[in-house]
Protein backbone atom coordinates (compact mmCIF):
# COMPACT_ATOMS: atom_id res chain seq x y z
CA UNK A 1 0.00 0.00 0.00
CA UNK A 2 1.30 3.41 -0.93
CA UNK A 3 2.01 5.53 2.09
CA UNK A 4 0.69 9.00 2.11
CA UNK A 5 1.92 11.91 4.08
CA UNK A 6 0.01 12.48 7.26
CA UNK A 7 -2.32 15.37 6.58
CA UNK A 8 -1.60 18.05 9.10
CA UNK A 9 -4.30 19.70 11.07
CA UNK A 10 -7.94 18.87 10.55
CA UNK A 11 -7.76 15.06 10.55
CA UNK A 12 -6.04 14.78 13.87
CA UNK A 13 -8.88 16.24 15.89
CA UNK A 14 -10.28 13.85 18.45
CA UNK A 15 -13.80 14.11 17.05
CA UNK A 16 -12.71 12.99 13.59
CA UNK A 17 -10.77 10.05 15.00
CA UNK A 18 -13.78 9.00 17.08
CA UNK A 19 -15.95 9.11 13.98
CA UNK A 20 -13.50 7.09 11.90
CA UNK A 21 -13.03 4.47 14.60
CA UNK A 22 -16.76 4.18 15.16
CA UNK A 23 -17.15 3.44 11.44
CA UNK A 24 -14.51 0.75 11.65
CA UNK A 25 -15.72 -0.76 14.90
CA UNK A 26 -18.27 -3.30 13.58
CA UNK A 27 -15.84 -4.63 10.98
CA UNK A 28 -12.96 -4.71 13.41
CA UNK A 29 -14.89 -6.61 16.08
CA UNK A 30 -16.14 -9.12 13.50
CA UNK A 31 -12.65 -9.60 12.10
CA UNK A 32 -11.15 -10.22 15.54
CA UNK A 33 -14.00 -12.51 16.56
CA UNK A 34 -14.24 -14.59 13.41
CA UNK A 35 -10.72 -14.46 11.98
CA UNK A 36 -8.28 -13.93 14.83
CA UNK A 37 -9.92 -15.72 17.77
CA UNK A 38 -10.32 -19.04 15.86
CA UNK A 39 -6.54 -19.13 15.43
CA UNK A 40 -6.34 -20.30 19.05
CA UNK A 41 -8.06 -23.44 17.82
CA UNK A 42 -4.77 -24.43 16.18
CA UNK A 43 -3.52 -25.37 19.66
CA UNK A 44 -5.93 -28.30 19.51
CA UNK A 45 -3.58 -30.14 17.19
CA UNK A 46 -1.16 -30.57 20.10
CA UNK A 47 -3.78 -31.43 22.70
CA UNK A 48 -5.76 -34.43 23.76
CA UNK A 49 -9.06 -32.60 23.51
CA UNK A 50 -12.42 -34.00 24.59
CA UNK A 51 -15.48 -32.58 22.88
CA UNK A 52 -17.28 -32.27 26.20
CA UNK A 53 -14.77 -29.84 27.66
CA UNK A 54 -16.06 -26.87 25.66
CA UNK A 55 -14.06 -23.80 24.82
CA UNK A 56 -12.06 -23.78 28.04
CA UNK A 57 -10.85 -27.23 27.10
CA UNK A 58 -8.73 -25.75 24.34
CA UNK A 59 -6.47 -24.40 27.06
CA UNK A 60 -7.02 -26.84 29.92
CA UNK A 61 -6.91 -30.21 28.19
CA UNK A 62 -3.60 -32.07 28.52
CA UNK A 63 -0.80 -31.58 26.01
CA UNK A 64 -0.40 -34.46 23.64
CA UNK A 65 2.83 -33.46 21.94
CA UNK A 66 2.93 -34.57 18.34
CA UNK A 67 0.89 -37.68 19.07
CA UNK A 68 -1.98 -36.51 16.84
CA UNK A 69 0.43 -36.14 13.93
CA UNK A 70 1.91 -39.58 14.53
CA UNK A 71 -1.53 -41.18 14.47
CA UNK A 72 -2.33 -39.48 11.18
CA UNK A 73 0.88 -40.38 9.40
CA UNK A 74 0.58 -44.00 10.57
CA UNK A 75 -2.87 -44.23 9.01
CA UNK A 76 -2.67 -45.64 5.50
CA UNK A 77 -5.80 -43.72 4.47
CA UNK A 78 -3.78 -40.59 4.90
CA UNK A 79 -1.26 -41.42 2.18
CA UNK A 80 -4.07 -42.36 -0.15
CA UNK A 81 -5.88 -39.09 0.29
CA UNK A 82 -2.65 -37.12 0.03
CA UNK A 83 -2.12 -38.81 -3.34
CA UNK A 84 -5.66 -37.94 -4.41
CA UNK A 85 -5.28 -34.32 -3.32
CA UNK A 86 -1.99 -33.83 -5.11
CA UNK A 87 -2.99 -35.87 -8.16
CA UNK A 88 -6.24 -34.08 -8.84
CA UNK A 89 -4.72 -30.65 -8.26
CA UNK A 90 -1.45 -31.17 -10.07
CA UNK A 91 -2.88 -32.77 -13.19
CA UNK A 92 -5.82 -30.39 -13.07
CA UNK A 93 -3.59 -27.33 -13.06
CA UNK A 94 -1.24 -28.73 -15.69
CA UNK A 95 -4.24 -29.17 -17.97
CA UNK A 96 -6.24 -26.09 -17.11
CA UNK A 97 -3.58 -23.35 -17.05
CA UNK A 98 -2.34 -23.89 -20.65
CA UNK A 99 -5.88 -24.44 -21.95
CA UNK A 100 -7.15 -21.30 -20.25
CA UNK A 101 -4.31 -19.24 -21.69
CA UNK A 102 -4.94 -20.74 -25.12
CA UNK A 103 -8.63 -19.93 -24.88
CA UNK A 104 -7.84 -16.34 -23.91
CA UNK A 105 -5.50 -16.06 -26.90
CA UNK A 106 -8.08 -17.40 -29.30
CA UNK A 107 -10.92 -15.32 -27.88
CA UNK A 108 -8.68 -12.37 -28.60
CA UNK A 109 -8.41 -13.48 -32.23
CA UNK A 110 -12.16 -13.35 -32.80
CA UNK A 111 -12.74 -10.55 -35.27
CA UNK A 112 -16.33 -9.58 -34.50
CA UNK A 113 -16.88 -7.77 -31.21
CA UNK A 114 -20.40 -9.13 -30.83
CA UNK A 115 -19.16 -12.69 -31.25
CA UNK A 116 -16.34 -12.08 -28.81
CA UNK A 117 -18.73 -10.76 -26.18
CA UNK A 118 -21.14 -13.62 -26.73
CA UNK A 119 -18.39 -16.16 -26.21
CA UNK A 120 -17.33 -14.40 -23.02
CA UNK A 121 -20.85 -14.11 -21.65
CA UNK A 122 -21.67 -17.74 -22.31
CA UNK A 123 -18.43 -19.25 -21.08
CA UNK A 124 -18.38 -17.19 -17.86
CA UNK A 125 -21.81 -18.39 -16.89
CA UNK A 126 -21.10 -21.81 -15.33
CA UNK A 127 -18.76 -20.14 -12.85
CA UNK A 128 -21.80 -18.61 -11.17
CA UNK A 129 -23.71 -21.84 -10.83
CA UNK A 130 -23.10 -23.67 -7.59
CA UNK A 131 -21.16 -26.90 -7.50
CA UNK A 132 -24.19 -28.65 -6.08
CA UNK A 133 -26.12 -27.87 -9.23
CA UNK A 134 -23.25 -28.39 -11.62
CA UNK A 135 -22.12 -31.57 -9.87
CA UNK A 136 -25.63 -32.98 -9.93
CA UNK A 137 -25.79 -32.30 -13.65
CA UNK A 138 -22.45 -34.05 -14.13
CA UNK A 139 -23.70 -37.06 -12.19
CA UNK A 140 -26.88 -37.15 -14.27
CA UNK A 141 -24.93 -36.98 -17.51
CA UNK A 142 -22.78 -39.89 -16.37
CA UNK A 143 -25.47 -42.33 -15.18
CA UNK A 144 -25.91 -45.58 -17.06
CA UNK A 145 -28.71 -44.07 -19.16
CA UNK A 146 -27.15 -40.60 -19.26
CA UNK A 147 -26.01 -38.68 -22.30
CA UNK A 148 -22.32 -39.65 -22.13
CA UNK A 149 -23.02 -43.37 -22.15
CA UNK A 150 -25.62 -42.99 -24.89
CA UNK A 151 -23.29 -41.01 -27.13
CA UNK A 152 -20.26 -43.21 -26.62
CA UNK A 153 -22.29 -46.37 -27.13
CA UNK A 154 -23.85 -44.94 -30.28
CA UNK A 155 -20.36 -44.21 -31.54
CA UNK A 156 -19.46 -47.80 -30.82
CA UNK A 157 -16.84 -47.12 -28.14
CA UNK A 158 -18.26 -49.93 -25.98
CA UNK A 159 -21.55 -51.77 -25.77
CA UNK A 160 -22.45 -52.00 -22.09
CA UNK A 161 -23.05 -48.77 -20.17
CA UNK A 162 -20.26 -47.82 -17.79
CA UNK A 163 -21.36 -46.60 -14.38
CA UNK A 164 -18.76 -43.87 -14.21
CA UNK A 165 -19.58 -42.51 -10.78
CA UNK A 166 -19.27 -45.93 -9.15
CA UNK A 167 -15.80 -46.64 -10.49
CA UNK A 168 -12.91 -45.04 -8.62
CA UNK A 169 -10.65 -45.06 -11.69
CA UNK A 170 -12.70 -42.41 -13.45
CA UNK A 171 -12.93 -40.00 -10.55
CA UNK A 172 -9.84 -37.90 -11.20
CA UNK A 173 -10.80 -37.42 -14.82
CA UNK A 174 -14.39 -36.56 -13.93
CA UNK A 175 -13.36 -34.01 -11.37
CA UNK A 176 -10.68 -32.42 -13.58
CA UNK A 177 -12.83 -32.23 -16.72
CA UNK A 178 -15.91 -30.97 -14.92
CA UNK A 179 -14.05 -28.16 -13.21
CA UNK A 180 -12.35 -27.33 -16.50
CA UNK A 181 -15.71 -26.89 -18.23
CA UNK A 182 -17.09 -24.88 -15.33
CA UNK A 183 -14.16 -22.54 -14.84
CA UNK A 184 -12.24 -22.22 -18.13
CA UNK A 185 -14.24 -19.25 -19.39
CA UNK A 186 -14.04 -17.36 -16.13
CA UNK A 187 -10.33 -18.16 -15.89
CA UNK A 188 -9.65 -16.20 -19.08
CA UNK A 189 -10.76 -12.86 -17.57
CA UNK A 190 -7.42 -11.86 -16.12
CA UNK A 191 -5.49 -13.02 -19.19
CA UNK A 192 -7.89 -11.14 -21.46
CA UNK A 193 -7.35 -8.00 -19.43
CA UNK A 194 -3.59 -8.43 -19.70
CA UNK A 195 -3.80 -9.06 -23.44
CA UNK A 196 -5.85 -5.92 -24.00
CA UNK A 197 -3.04 -3.98 -22.36
CA UNK A 198 -0.43 -5.13 -24.89
CA UNK A 199 0.88 -2.28 -27.04
CA UNK A 200 -0.68 -2.48 -30.52
CA UNK A 201 2.45 -1.04 -32.13
CA UNK A 202 4.28 -4.28 -31.35
CA UNK A 203 1.85 -6.24 -33.51
CA UNK A 204 2.07 -3.72 -36.32
CA UNK A 205 5.84 -3.91 -36.30
CA UNK A 206 5.69 -7.69 -36.35
CA UNK A 207 3.25 -7.65 -39.25
CA UNK A 208 5.59 -5.50 -41.26
CA UNK A 209 8.29 -8.06 -40.57
CA UNK A 210 5.92 -10.65 -41.94
CA UNK A 211 5.04 -12.48 -38.73
CA UNK A 212 1.94 -14.65 -38.91
CA UNK A 213 -0.80 -15.11 -36.38
CA UNK A 214 0.87 -17.81 -34.30
CA UNK A 215 4.23 -16.10 -34.31
CA UNK A 216 2.62 -12.97 -32.96
CA UNK A 217 0.91 -14.97 -30.22
CA UNK A 218 4.11 -16.78 -29.30
CA UNK A 219 6.61 -13.94 -29.55
CA UNK A 220 4.51 -10.94 -28.54
CA UNK A 221 1.33 -11.77 -26.65
CA UNK A 222 2.70 -14.52 -24.42
CA UNK A 223 5.85 -12.65 -23.33
CA UNK A 224 3.74 -9.55 -22.69
CA UNK A 225 1.34 -11.35 -20.36
CA UNK A 226 4.16 -13.21 -18.62
CA UNK A 227 3.55 -11.51 -15.28
CA UNK A 228 -0.08 -12.52 -15.17
CA UNK A 229 0.84 -16.09 -16.04
CA UNK A 230 3.49 -16.16 -13.31
CA UNK A 231 1.04 -14.94 -10.69
CA UNK A 232 -1.55 -17.52 -11.71
CA UNK A 233 1.06 -20.27 -11.48
CA UNK A 234 2.15 -19.12 -8.02
CA UNK A 235 -1.47 -19.20 -6.86
CA UNK A 236 -1.88 -22.66 -8.37
CA UNK A 237 1.22 -23.98 -6.62
CA UNK A 238 0.18 -22.45 -3.29
CA UNK A 239 -3.26 -23.98 -3.63
CA UNK A 240 -2.06 -27.47 -4.40
CA UNK A 241 -3.13 -28.78 -0.98
CA UNK A 242 -6.57 -27.17 -1.25
CA UNK A 243 -9.15 -29.16 -3.06
CA UNK A 244 -12.40 -27.63 -4.02
CA UNK A 245 -14.45 -29.10 -1.16
CA UNK A 246 -17.73 -28.00 -2.73
CA UNK A 247 -16.97 -29.93 -5.89
CA UNK A 248 -15.38 -33.07 -4.48
CA UNK A 249 -17.98 -33.53 -1.76
CA UNK A 250 -20.84 -33.44 -4.27
CA UNK A 251 -19.20 -35.91 -6.65
CA UNK A 252 -17.97 -38.24 -3.94
CA UNK A 253 -19.82 -41.43 -3.08
CA UNK A 254 -19.19 -44.67 -1.23
CA UNK A 255 -17.94 -46.42 -4.39
CA UNK A 256 -15.36 -43.93 -5.61
CA UNK A 257 -14.04 -43.07 -2.15
CA UNK A 258 -10.70 -44.72 -2.86
CA UNK A 259 -9.90 -42.02 -5.42
CA UNK A 260 -12.16 -39.22 -4.21
CA UNK A 261 -11.16 -38.83 -0.57
CA UNK A 262 -9.06 -35.66 -0.32
CA UNK A 263 -7.64 -33.74 2.63
CA UNK A 264 -10.55 -31.33 2.92
CA UNK A 265 -13.25 -33.97 2.86
CA UNK A 266 -11.21 -36.04 5.31
CA UNK A 267 -10.94 -33.14 7.75
CA UNK A 268 -14.70 -32.75 7.62
CA UNK A 269 -15.27 -36.42 8.30
CA UNK A 270 -12.67 -36.85 11.03
CA UNK A 271 -13.51 -33.55 12.68
CA UNK A 272 -17.21 -32.92 12.41
CA UNK A 273 -18.56 -36.44 11.91
CA UNK A 274 -16.25 -38.44 14.17
CA UNK A 275 -15.55 -35.47 16.45
CA UNK A 276 -11.82 -36.16 16.67
CA UNK A 277 -10.96 -32.50 16.96
CA UNK A 278 -7.28 -32.96 17.75
CA UNK A 279 -6.64 -35.07 14.69
CA UNK A 280 -8.63 -32.84 12.36
CA UNK A 281 -6.73 -29.79 13.58
CA UNK A 282 -3.43 -31.60 13.12
CA UNK A 283 -4.29 -32.40 9.48
CA UNK A 284 -5.32 -28.79 8.99
CA UNK A 285 -1.98 -27.55 10.33
CA UNK A 286 -0.06 -30.03 8.20
CA UNK A 287 -1.92 -28.76 5.16
CA UNK A 288 -1.49 -25.08 5.97
CA UNK A 289 2.23 -25.35 6.68
CA UNK A 290 2.89 -27.10 3.38
CA UNK A 291 0.72 -24.59 1.51
CA UNK A 292 2.57 -21.66 3.06
CA UNK A 293 5.96 -23.24 2.33
CA UNK A 294 4.91 -23.86 -1.28
CA UNK A 295 3.72 -20.28 -1.65
CA UNK A 296 7.09 -18.93 -0.54
CA UNK A 297 9.04 -21.43 -2.62
CA UNK A 298 7.05 -20.68 -5.75
CA UNK A 299 7.39 -16.97 -5.20
CA UNK A 300 11.14 -17.29 -4.61
CA UNK A 301 11.59 -19.45 -7.71
CA UNK A 302 9.65 -17.03 -9.86
CA UNK A 303 11.66 -14.08 -8.55
CA UNK A 304 14.86 -15.88 -9.52
CA UNK A 305 13.64 -17.12 -12.88
CA UNK A 306 11.41 -14.40 -14.24
CA UNK A 307 12.17 -11.42 -12.03
CA UNK A 308 8.54 -11.07 -11.03
CA UNK A 309 6.52 -12.46 -8.19
CA UNK A 310 3.64 -11.94 -5.85
CA UNK A 311 5.65 -10.22 -3.11
Amino acid sequence: MAKRKKAAGPGNELGVQVQLHSMMLPGLLLMIMFNVVPLFGLILAFKNYKVTSGIAGIFTSPFYGVQNFKIIFANHDFMNMLRNTLGINLIGQLVSIPLTIALALFINEIAHTSMRNTVKTVTYMPHFISWVVFGTIVINLLTSDGAINKILMAMGAYDKPIIYMAQPNYFWTISIVSSLIKEIGWGTILYTAAISGVDGALYEAAEIEGAGRYRKMWYITLPCIRNTITIMIIFAVAGIMNNNFDQIYVLQNAFNLERSEVIDTYIYKVGLQQLQFGMASAINIFKSVIALALLFTANFASRKLTDSGLF
Binding site: V16, S130, A280
Partner: protein, 309 residues
Protein backbone atom coordinates in the same frame (compact mmCIF):
# COMPACT_ATOMS: atom_id res chain seq x y z
CA UNK B 1 -12.70 -1.24 -18.43
CA UNK B 2 -11.93 0.54 -21.64
CA UNK B 3 -14.26 0.31 -24.58
CA UNK B 4 -14.09 -2.91 -26.55
CA UNK B 5 -12.17 -2.41 -29.77
CA UNK B 6 -14.23 -2.12 -32.91
CA UNK B 7 -14.79 -5.12 -35.07
CA UNK B 8 -11.61 -5.82 -36.96
CA UNK B 9 -11.37 -6.21 -40.69
CA UNK B 10 -11.10 -9.84 -41.74
CA UNK B 11 -8.71 -10.28 -44.62
CA UNK B 12 -9.55 -12.78 -47.28
CA UNK B 13 -6.64 -14.99 -46.30
CA UNK B 14 -7.93 -15.01 -42.75
CA UNK B 15 -11.33 -16.41 -43.58
CA UNK B 16 -10.55 -20.12 -43.23
CA UNK B 17 -8.95 -19.49 -39.86
CA UNK B 18 -11.91 -17.43 -38.69
CA UNK B 19 -14.27 -20.14 -39.88
CA UNK B 20 -12.51 -22.82 -37.84
CA UNK B 21 -12.18 -20.48 -34.86
CA UNK B 22 -15.87 -19.56 -34.84
CA UNK B 23 -16.86 -23.17 -35.22
CA UNK B 24 -14.72 -24.12 -32.21
CA UNK B 25 -16.13 -21.26 -30.16
CA UNK B 26 -19.70 -22.27 -30.93
CA UNK B 27 -18.80 -25.80 -29.91
CA UNK B 28 -17.33 -24.54 -26.66
CA UNK B 29 -20.40 -22.46 -25.92
CA UNK B 30 -22.55 -25.49 -26.58
CA UNK B 31 -20.46 -27.54 -24.16
CA UNK B 32 -20.84 -24.98 -21.39
CA UNK B 33 -24.55 -24.35 -21.87
CA UNK B 34 -25.71 -27.86 -22.67
CA UNK B 35 -25.52 -29.34 -19.15
CA UNK B 36 -27.89 -26.63 -17.93
CA UNK B 37 -30.21 -27.10 -20.88
CA UNK B 38 -30.19 -30.86 -20.33
CA UNK B 39 -31.51 -30.43 -16.80
CA UNK B 40 -34.15 -27.88 -17.77
CA UNK B 41 -35.44 -30.13 -20.53
CA UNK B 42 -35.62 -33.18 -18.29
CA UNK B 43 -37.23 -31.32 -15.43
CA UNK B 44 -40.22 -30.54 -17.66
CA UNK B 45 -40.42 -34.03 -19.15
CA UNK B 46 -42.85 -36.52 -17.68
CA UNK B 47 -41.31 -39.05 -15.31
CA UNK B 48 -43.09 -41.98 -16.93
CA UNK B 49 -41.58 -41.10 -20.28
CA UNK B 50 -38.12 -40.76 -18.78
CA UNK B 51 -38.47 -44.19 -17.20
CA UNK B 52 -39.42 -45.72 -20.52
CA UNK B 53 -37.12 -43.97 -22.95
CA UNK B 54 -34.33 -42.61 -20.80
CA UNK B 55 -33.26 -38.99 -20.65
CA UNK B 56 -34.36 -36.49 -23.24
CA UNK B 57 -31.48 -34.69 -24.92
CA UNK B 58 -32.54 -31.66 -26.88
CA UNK B 59 -36.23 -31.14 -26.34
CA UNK B 60 -38.79 -32.50 -23.86
CA UNK B 61 -40.62 -35.45 -25.45
CA UNK B 62 -43.61 -35.33 -23.14
CA UNK B 63 -43.95 -31.85 -21.72
CA UNK B 64 -45.38 -31.51 -18.23
CA UNK B 65 -44.94 -29.16 -15.30
CA UNK B 66 -45.78 -31.87 -12.75
CA UNK B 67 -42.41 -31.96 -11.07
CA UNK B 68 -42.29 -28.18 -10.95
CA UNK B 69 -45.71 -28.15 -9.28
CA UNK B 70 -44.48 -30.74 -6.82
CA UNK B 71 -41.41 -28.69 -6.07
CA UNK B 72 -43.19 -25.37 -5.60
CA UNK B 73 -45.77 -26.98 -3.32
CA UNK B 74 -43.34 -28.87 -1.15
CA UNK B 75 -43.17 -27.05 2.22
CA UNK B 76 -39.61 -28.24 2.84
CA UNK B 77 -38.39 -26.73 -0.41
CA UNK B 78 -40.33 -23.52 0.16
CA UNK B 79 -38.77 -23.19 3.60
CA UNK B 80 -35.32 -23.79 2.10
CA UNK B 81 -36.03 -21.22 -0.58
CA UNK B 82 -37.09 -18.68 2.03
CA UNK B 83 -33.95 -19.31 4.12
CA UNK B 84 -31.73 -18.96 1.04
CA UNK B 85 -33.34 -15.74 -0.18
CA UNK B 86 -33.48 -14.00 3.20
CA UNK B 87 -29.94 -15.05 4.04
CA UNK B 88 -28.61 -13.83 0.70
CA UNK B 89 -30.32 -10.45 0.97
CA UNK B 90 -29.33 -9.84 4.59
CA UNK B 91 -25.71 -10.89 4.17
CA UNK B 92 -25.20 -9.00 0.91
CA UNK B 93 -26.61 -5.70 2.15
CA UNK B 94 -25.06 -5.73 5.61
CA UNK B 95 -21.71 -7.16 4.59
CA UNK B 96 -21.23 -4.65 1.79
CA UNK B 97 -22.13 -1.75 4.07
CA UNK B 98 -19.98 -2.85 7.02
CA UNK B 99 -16.99 -3.67 4.83
CA UNK B 100 -17.23 -0.47 2.78
CA UNK B 101 -17.49 1.59 5.95
CA UNK B 102 -14.53 -0.17 7.55
CA UNK B 103 -12.55 0.37 4.38
CA UNK B 104 -13.42 4.07 4.36
CA UNK B 105 -12.05 4.54 7.86
CA UNK B 106 -9.03 2.47 6.92
CA UNK B 107 -8.38 4.47 3.74
CA UNK B 108 -8.14 7.86 5.48
CA UNK B 109 -4.48 8.90 5.60
CA UNK B 110 -5.00 10.63 8.96
CA UNK B 111 -6.41 7.53 10.67
CA UNK B 112 -4.55 6.71 13.89
CA UNK B 113 -3.59 3.10 14.53
CA UNK B 114 -3.58 2.17 10.88
CA UNK B 115 -0.53 -0.09 11.30
CA UNK B 116 -2.25 -2.17 13.96
CA UNK B 117 -5.33 -2.58 11.78
CA UNK B 118 -3.18 -3.65 8.82
CA UNK B 119 -1.47 -6.29 10.94
CA UNK B 120 -4.79 -7.69 12.16
CA UNK B 121 -6.08 -7.54 8.59
CA UNK B 122 -3.21 -9.43 7.05
CA UNK B 123 -3.24 -12.05 9.80
CA UNK B 124 -6.93 -12.58 9.15
CA UNK B 125 -6.25 -12.91 5.44
CA UNK B 126 -3.42 -15.43 5.48
CA UNK B 127 -4.10 -17.57 8.55
CA UNK B 128 -7.09 -19.75 9.18
CA UNK B 129 -8.11 -21.56 12.34
CA UNK B 130 -9.81 -24.38 10.50
CA UNK B 131 -13.33 -25.71 10.63
CA UNK B 132 -12.96 -27.25 14.10
CA UNK B 133 -12.13 -23.90 15.66
CA UNK B 134 -15.25 -22.41 14.10
CA UNK B 135 -17.33 -25.30 15.34
CA UNK B 136 -16.22 -24.66 18.91
CA UNK B 137 -16.52 -20.88 18.55
CA UNK B 138 -20.07 -21.01 17.19
CA UNK B 139 -21.08 -23.38 19.95
CA UNK B 140 -19.65 -21.00 22.52
CA UNK B 141 -21.43 -18.04 20.93
CA UNK B 142 -24.64 -20.10 20.90
CA UNK B 143 -25.17 -19.53 17.20
CA UNK B 144 -24.47 -23.14 16.22
CA UNK B 145 -27.58 -24.61 14.62
CA UNK B 146 -29.43 -21.29 14.52
CA UNK B 147 -30.30 -19.02 11.62
CA UNK B 148 -27.68 -16.55 12.89
CA UNK B 149 -24.82 -18.83 11.99
CA UNK B 150 -25.59 -17.85 8.39
CA UNK B 151 -25.60 -14.14 9.14
CA UNK B 152 -23.28 -13.01 11.92
CA UNK B 153 -19.98 -14.61 10.80
CA UNK B 154 -20.61 -13.34 7.26
CA UNK B 155 -21.18 -9.71 8.21
CA UNK B 156 -17.60 -8.73 7.46
CA UNK B 157 -16.42 -9.36 3.93
CA UNK B 158 -12.77 -10.02 4.73
CA UNK B 159 -9.67 -7.91 4.47
CA UNK B 160 -9.17 -8.69 0.80
CA UNK B 161 -12.36 -6.77 0.02
CA UNK B 162 -11.11 -3.93 2.21
CA UNK B 163 -8.00 -3.73 0.03
CA UNK B 164 -10.16 -3.58 -3.10
CA UNK B 165 -12.38 -0.85 -1.64
CA UNK B 166 -9.30 1.00 -0.47
CA UNK B 167 -7.74 0.96 -3.95
CA UNK B 168 -11.01 2.23 -5.32
CA UNK B 169 -11.44 5.08 -2.85
CA UNK B 170 -8.01 6.32 -3.84
CA UNK B 171 -9.29 7.16 -7.29
CA UNK B 172 -11.67 9.72 -5.80
CA UNK B 173 -10.07 13.17 -6.17
CA UNK B 174 -8.70 14.60 -2.93
CA UNK B 175 -10.28 17.97 -3.72
CA UNK B 176 -13.74 16.51 -3.08
CA UNK B 177 -12.78 15.47 0.44
CA UNK B 178 -11.09 18.78 1.15
CA UNK B 179 -13.99 20.93 0.07
CA UNK B 180 -16.40 18.77 2.06
CA UNK B 181 -14.19 19.20 5.11
CA UNK B 182 -14.13 22.95 4.65
CA UNK B 183 -17.91 22.90 4.53
CA UNK B 184 -17.77 21.14 7.89
CA UNK B 185 -19.08 17.77 6.73
CA UNK B 186 -18.67 14.89 9.20
CA UNK B 187 -16.89 11.68 8.20
CA UNK B 188 -20.23 9.87 8.06
CA UNK B 189 -21.60 12.51 5.75
CA UNK B 190 -18.57 12.32 3.48
CA UNK B 191 -18.89 8.55 3.37
CA UNK B 192 -22.60 8.39 2.62
CA UNK B 193 -22.91 11.43 0.36
CA UNK B 194 -19.62 11.48 -1.53
CA UNK B 195 -17.81 8.15 -1.31
CA UNK B 196 -20.76 5.75 -1.63
CA UNK B 197 -22.29 7.36 -4.74
CA UNK B 198 -18.87 7.46 -6.42
CA UNK B 199 -18.16 3.82 -5.60
CA UNK B 200 -21.20 2.28 -7.23
CA UNK B 201 -19.24 0.05 -9.63
CA UNK B 202 -17.09 -1.55 -6.93
CA UNK B 203 -20.04 -1.76 -4.53
CA UNK B 204 -22.14 -3.59 -7.08
CA UNK B 205 -19.29 -5.86 -8.18
CA UNK B 206 -18.40 -6.97 -4.67
CA UNK B 207 -22.07 -7.11 -3.75
CA UNK B 208 -22.73 -9.48 -6.62
CA UNK B 209 -19.83 -11.74 -5.66
CA UNK B 210 -21.12 -11.87 -2.10
CA UNK B 211 -24.67 -12.58 -3.21
CA UNK B 212 -23.62 -15.38 -5.56
CA UNK B 213 -21.31 -16.92 -2.98
CA UNK B 214 -23.99 -16.82 -0.30
CA UNK B 215 -26.69 -18.17 -2.56
CA UNK B 216 -24.52 -21.09 -3.64
CA UNK B 217 -22.95 -21.90 -0.27
CA UNK B 218 -23.80 -25.18 1.34
CA UNK B 219 -20.86 -25.75 3.65
CA UNK B 220 -22.22 -23.52 6.46
CA UNK B 221 -25.33 -25.70 6.54
CA UNK B 222 -23.28 -28.88 6.38
CA UNK B 223 -20.83 -27.87 9.09
CA UNK B 224 -22.85 -25.79 11.51
CA UNK B 225 -26.50 -26.84 11.46
CA UNK B 226 -28.43 -30.00 12.21
CA UNK B 227 -32.07 -28.95 12.04
CA UNK B 228 -33.76 -29.57 8.71
CA UNK B 229 -35.72 -26.30 8.97
CA UNK B 230 -32.40 -24.47 8.53
CA UNK B 231 -31.62 -26.18 5.22
CA UNK B 232 -30.79 -23.95 2.29
CA UNK B 233 -31.77 -24.74 -1.26
CA UNK B 234 -28.21 -25.78 -2.12
CA UNK B 235 -28.01 -28.06 0.88
CA UNK B 236 -31.39 -29.61 0.22
CA UNK B 237 -30.32 -30.40 -3.32
CA UNK B 238 -27.03 -31.79 -2.04
CA UNK B 239 -28.78 -34.10 0.41
CA UNK B 240 -31.21 -35.51 -2.15
CA UNK B 241 -28.42 -35.86 -4.72
CA UNK B 242 -26.22 -37.72 -2.32
CA UNK B 243 -28.87 -39.98 -0.86
CA UNK B 244 -30.62 -40.88 -4.10
CA UNK B 245 -27.45 -41.30 -6.11
CA UNK B 246 -25.82 -43.53 -3.52
CA UNK B 247 -28.82 -45.85 -3.44
CA UNK B 248 -29.16 -45.83 -7.20
CA UNK B 249 -25.53 -46.55 -7.89
CA UNK B 250 -25.54 -49.33 -5.33
CA UNK B 251 -28.43 -51.05 -7.03
CA UNK B 252 -26.84 -50.55 -10.40
CA UNK B 253 -23.45 -51.78 -9.30
CA UNK B 254 -25.11 -54.98 -8.19
CA UNK B 255 -26.94 -55.41 -11.45
CA UNK B 256 -24.16 -54.54 -13.87
CA UNK B 257 -24.77 -56.18 -17.18
CA UNK B 258 -28.30 -57.22 -16.40
CA UNK B 259 -30.22 -54.86 -18.60
CA UNK B 260 -33.65 -55.86 -17.27
CA UNK B 261 -32.77 -55.01 -13.70
CA UNK B 262 -31.29 -51.77 -14.83
CA UNK B 263 -34.61 -50.77 -16.33
CA UNK B 264 -36.42 -51.50 -13.08
CA UNK B 265 -34.11 -49.41 -11.01
CA UNK B 266 -34.44 -46.54 -13.42
CA UNK B 267 -38.24 -46.59 -13.35
CA UNK B 268 -38.32 -46.59 -9.57
CA UNK B 269 -36.12 -43.61 -9.29
CA UNK B 270 -37.14 -41.56 -12.30
CA UNK B 271 -40.04 -39.80 -10.63
CA UNK B 272 -37.68 -38.71 -7.94
CA UNK B 273 -35.19 -37.68 -10.57
CA UNK B 274 -37.42 -35.15 -12.31
CA UNK B 275 -38.12 -33.59 -8.93
CA UNK B 276 -34.42 -33.41 -8.24
CA UNK B 277 -33.87 -31.76 -11.61
CA UNK B 278 -36.63 -29.23 -11.03
CA UNK B 279 -35.15 -28.42 -7.65
CA UNK B 280 -31.78 -27.99 -9.26
CA UNK B 281 -33.07 -25.62 -11.90
CA UNK B 282 -34.80 -23.69 -9.12
CA UNK B 283 -31.48 -23.36 -7.30
CA UNK B 284 -29.68 -22.10 -10.40
CA UNK B 285 -32.43 -20.14 -12.13
CA UNK B 286 -32.25 -16.84 -10.23
CA UNK B 287 -28.56 -16.57 -11.06
CA UNK B 288 -29.05 -17.47 -14.69
CA UNK B 289 -31.84 -14.92 -15.08
CA UNK B 290 -29.96 -12.00 -13.55
CA UNK B 291 -26.62 -13.08 -14.98
CA UNK B 292 -26.66 -11.25 -18.34
CA UNK B 293 -27.57 -7.98 -16.63
CA UNK B 294 -24.83 -8.24 -14.07
CA UNK B 295 -22.01 -9.35 -16.32
CA UNK B 296 -20.51 -5.92 -16.90
CA UNK B 297 -20.39 -5.31 -13.15
CA UNK B 298 -18.42 -8.36 -12.19
CA UNK B 299 -16.10 -8.04 -15.14
CA UNK B 300 -15.33 -4.61 -13.78
CA UNK B 301 -15.00 -6.09 -10.32
CA UNK B 302 -12.41 -8.59 -11.47
CA UNK B 303 -10.39 -5.79 -13.03
CA UNK B 304 -10.47 -3.80 -9.81
CA UNK B 305 -9.34 -6.90 -7.97
CA UNK B 306 -6.57 -7.62 -10.41
CA UNK B 307 -5.00 -4.24 -9.89
CA UNK B 308 -4.11 -5.48 -6.45
CA UNK B 309 -3.99 -9.18 -6.86
Amino acid sequence: MEKAPKTRVVRKSDRPFMGVLYFCMVLLMFLTVYPMWYSIVNSVNSAADLAQNGYAYLWPRDFTLDSWKAVTRDPVILQAFFITVSRTVLVTVLQTLITAMFAYGFSRPYLRGKKLYSVIGFISMYLNGGVIAYFILYNTLKIYNTYWVYIIPALFGGFYNVIIFNANYKSIPDALFESAKIDGASEYRIFFQIVMPLSKPVLSALGIFTAVGTWNDYSATLYFTRTSSLQTLSYYLLSITKSSKAAEELQKAMSVGVAANLGNVVSQSSNFRTIELACMVLAALPLIIVYPFLQKFFEKGMMIGSVKG
